[in-house]
């Protein structure tokens, strides 16, 4: 998923900021493993929490008294203390620390090791609540609480197992905890737990649908409610655990995918949410994406898009966002009529995470032309353009990404203009988020092919803004800006003068030929190919040494680079001594090899370059020596007119030189 690293870093920065505030939000999202260095964070968290003694609320002391009874009481006193403790607002930090500060966590965890079911339940009820606090989680993990809870997953009592799973779900929200659970076989136990209720739930679904089953015993409503809770808590635990890559693999090996597929069909939203949450987390792995498709889960994901539950819809959209990387999945989504509900979700302006998920899903789905067509019919383009004013970065990135894909269709380029979409796009060029910049350039690259759009872009100084992006240190931004510059130069009237007026502009773009990035090189060559069509500019870039730099790139194998490089060379030949210069820079011989490439686009542009170069006799000789004639002869009969014409032209120049030599020899 192409979420910018920047977004993740900003989230992390926000988390560090929150440490000093006394409010802790319940929905505290931590960045996924791969990008969080946790050693510094852990130290900081261990220090935190020693509150100023004077402003502790009375609850703090009352709770500490209860912990005293937990420590010194028998089972009866313990139960009374535990039940009483639950009356306090355990979401309040002061209460949580009250427990921790007098060794309450140790006692609670020790209770889990006893034989007493009631005490274990009472203890877990408290641990479940306070483990929502990140500092408490770490303490619980430090005290070996996770190992104990994993053991409880295999006990008989349903309530106990359910509470253990739910508490694990809360504690395993940081890296080390996730590892501990895996190392203690926790994942297999959780899968086992879910398997045990799966059958009962299936029967219930069948009863619900009126399908007769073969079960002998009646299944009470009370049992069903318990099993639904178990499924919810087990799935939530897996969701928390799935953020770690190794856990994703372990889960797959334990057979979690068919299990999730079954649970996904449940009519209970409380089960579906953590199931889909887990799926979308795992869908970053290609193996999961494949399995999601082959297990038929795309159908259920689309179904759940239509639910009335915002959270469920968001997770489904995110899952689709990730899965739509694959073409077959994109086709399935369309087949199951999943594009319609996605567009409908765009009206949720206030729910930003939902909006981001929906726009993301639409973005990836639009990679397929057939899907774009449906989006068109649903007037999605107009809705997307309306979102260009949204303040949320993630929403913008995805929206622009989607528009960039859709703008590959000429009709949509016009729609975008008519809904006022062009000028906001140009304005986005001044932003700082790299992914957003890349997407914006892609969108403009498409839009600039439309004559009416170009005038807007020009009027808003779009070309200069694109050119400034060439100075951006990020290579993807540079490349996408260069790609976008090409159609601008091509379609803007008097673009040559415009470009000349950018101070240092031509020098800048030529200097990018020193880049190590293939895409930057290819895109810059393409741009130079357009720039060089203006004679004055061609003179300027020649002065800046464009010829030797282009020549230096001829030894590359990349077809995209070759194609654009040869276009540039072809254009640059048309000035002064450049043909001769290319020759002396040994650019000619390598080009002959390009004709052997399997990519026919490369042939046409190479032939163009060779034709131009062949106007210089020395170049003809080199070409001839490298066996170009035979290769070009094969292309003379091509259906591609450009290729045909240039192959013929090149051959004829070579032949003319040969004839002239003959004549000179004979004279």
């Amino acid at each position: 998923m192409e979420k910018a690293k920047d977004t993740e870093n900003t989230k992390k920065k926000e988390i560090v900021k929150n440490h000093s505030s006394s409010k802790l939000s319940v929905n505290h999202k931590e960045p996924s493993d791969e990008s969080s260095p946790e050693s510094d964070e852990e130290e900081e968290l261990a220090e935190r929490g020693r509150q100023d003694q004077s402003d502790l609320p009375s609850e703090y002391w009352q709770i500490q008294k209860l912990v005293k009874y937990l420590k010194g009481g028998n089972q009866t006193a313990t139960i009374i203390a535990l039940c009483s403790m639950r009356d306090f607002n355990l979401a309040q930090e002061a209460c949580q620390f009250a427990i921790r500060d007098v060794g309450g966590l140790e006692v609670l965890i020790n209770l889990l090791d006893t034989e007493d079911i009631k005490c274990k339940i009472g203890s877990l009820q408290i641990l479940k609540e306070i483990s929502k606090n990140p500092y408490i989680r770490r303490s619980i993990a430090d005290l070996g609480g996770l190992q104990t809870m994993v053991k409880i997953l295999t006990e008989q009592d349903k309530d106990l197992r359910c509470l253990a799973a739910e508490t694990i779900a809360n504690v395993a929200k940081f890296k080390r905890a996730r590892k501990v659970v895996r190392q203690n076989n926790g994942i297999r136990m959780l899968v086992g737990l879910l398997e045990s209720v799966k059958i009962n739930l299936q029967h219930a679904v069948n009863d619900h649908k009126g399908i007769k089953t073969h079960s002998h015993h009646s299944y009470s409503q009370v049992e069903l409610v318990k099993d639904i809770e178990i499924a919810r808590c087990g799935a939530s635990a897996l969701w928390s655990l799935s953020k770690s890559k190794k856990n994703k693999h372990e889960m797959r090996r334990s057979g979690v995918i068919p299990l999730l597929a079954t649970l996904l069909k449940s009519p209970h939203e409380s089960i579906c949410i953590p199931v889909v949450g887990t799926l979308q987390e795992c869908a970053s792995e290609a193996s999961y994406r494949l399995a999601i498709r082959t297990e038929g889960m795309i159908f259920d994901l689309v179904e759940n898009l239509r639910s009335s539950n915002d959270e469920l819809q968001m997770h489904c959209a995110n899952a689709i966002f990730k899965c739509a990387e694959d073409k077959d999945t994109r086709d399935l989504i369309r087949k199951f009529k999943g594009l319609d509900p996605l567009v409908k979700l765009l009206s949720n302006r206030d729910n930003k995470p939902l909006l981001a998920a929906a726009t993301g899903a639409i973005w990836k789905c639009s990679i397929s032309k057939e899907n774009v067509k449906r989006f068109q019919e649903l007037k999605a383009i107009e809705s997307l353009v309306a979102l260009l004013g949204d303040p949320t970065e993630e929403v913008l990135i995805n929206t622009v990404g989607a528009l960039a894909e859709c703008a590959q269709e000429p009709e949509n380029r016009a729609s975008m203009r008519k809904s006022g979409g062009i000028s906001p796009l140009v304005n986005l060029l001044t932003g700082t988020n790299n992914q957003l910049l890349v997407n914006t350039c892609k969108a403009l690259a498409q839009c600039a092919q439309d004559q009416d759009n170009i005038s807007i872009i020009e009027r808003m100084d779009g070309v200069r803004l694109l050119w400034s992006l060439l100075k951006n240190p990020n290579t993807r931004v540079q490349a996408s800006a260069a790609w976008a510059i090409c159609p601008c130069i091509k379609n803007i009237r008097d673009s040559g003068e415009t470009v000349r007026n950018f101070v240092g502009g031509l020098e800048l773009i030529v200097s990018l030929l020193k880049s190590h990035d293939i895409e930057v090189l290819a895109s810059v060559c393409a741009a130079i190919g357009e720039i060089a069509k203006d004679e004055e500019n061609l003179a300027v870039i020649t002065d800046h040494g464009v010829v030797p730099m282009l020549a230096g790139l001829t030894d590359r194998n990349d077809d995209m680079l070759r194609k654009n490089l040869t276009e540039a060379i072809a254009q640059c030949c048309k000035w002064g001594k450049n043909r001769e210069l290319f020759g002396s820079q040994n650019a000619v011989a390598p080009l002959v090899k390009y004709l052997k490439s399997p990519n026919s686009d490369v042939h046409a542009s190479t032939a163009k370059a060779l034709h131009q170069l062949s106007k210089n006799p020395a170049n003809c000789i080199v070409m001839h020596e490298n066996g170009v004639v035979r290769l070009l002869l094969g292309m003379v009969g091509s259906t591609d007119e450009v290729l045909q014409e240039n192959s013929a032209g090149c051959i004829s120049n070579i032949r003319r030189l040969a004839l002239a030599n003959e004549k000179a020899r004979n004279a």
């Binding site: 209860l66 006193a77 009374i80």
Partner: protein
């Protein structure tokens, strides 16, 4: 006070019919098996005294609290004649082992209401919780801790704020938090011992 008699087959039959009519949670075969156990304990006498009953509570269910064991006996002994008859035995076990939630709540309240006046008072709670705190910091008066615990329990469960627990208070509190059912001490068997006892009279083809 009546004298004990040997148990006749007719008496057993009468008891079984009586119990079936009362809709206890046992099948006919199970009732018969339970009455056999009764006969073994009482050596075929038609009444079980307090001592013998407490032995059962201690040996089969590992109960140790004197006050509570006494109260359980009282709860079983419905006609309050100081002996548990065959019928009282099975009726009591019906709730003890297989009671519905409501039945157990009613039973527990009866046990905890030491003087049977329909309320669990502070003093009664103090009595029952007297031995519940094992470790205390040495300077503290041990009674302080118990009194405090009583206040905590009262605060938690006294819904009508009359400083004592009525049946309604107790009932509603337990419904809200099932863990509170035996909050003043164990008066029902734990799962392991319950299963063990059940296996002594249950036939394999009766339903769960």
């Amino acid at each position: 006070m009546t004298t004990a008699h040997h148990i006749t087959r007719k008496a057993v039959q009468v008891a079984i019919d009586d119990l079936c009519a009362k809709k206890v949670h046992f099948g006919k075969n199970e009732i018969e098996a339970l009455l056999n156990i009764y006969k073994t304990i009482t050596k075929n006498q038609d009444r079980m005294d307090r001592l013998k009953f407490r032995d059962v509570l201690h040996n089969s269910f590992d109960m140790t609290d004197d006050i509570l064991m006494d109260r359980v006996f009282r709860a079983f002994d419905r006609d309050n004649d100081g002996y548990i008859s065959m019928t009282e035995w099975v009726e009591g076990l019906s709730i003890f082992l297989r009671g519905t939630h409501e039945e157990k709540i009613r039973y527990a309240f009866t046990v905890y209401d030491l003087n049977g006046d329909g309320y669990i008072s502070r003093e009664e709670m103090f009595q029952m919780l007297k031995t519940s705190i094992i470790k205390q910091p040495s300077e503290e008066d041990p009674d302080e801790g118990i009194k405090d615990l009583v206040e905590i329990a009262l605060k938690k469960m006294d819904k009508d704020h009359d400083s004592r627990l009525s049946f309604q208070d107790f009932h509603d509190s337990v419904l809200a938090d099932p863990l509170l059912l035996e909050c003043f001490g164990q008066c029902l068997p734990d799962h392991k011992r319950k299963m063990a006892f059940e296996s002594t009279f249950k036939k394999t083809n009766t339903f769960y």
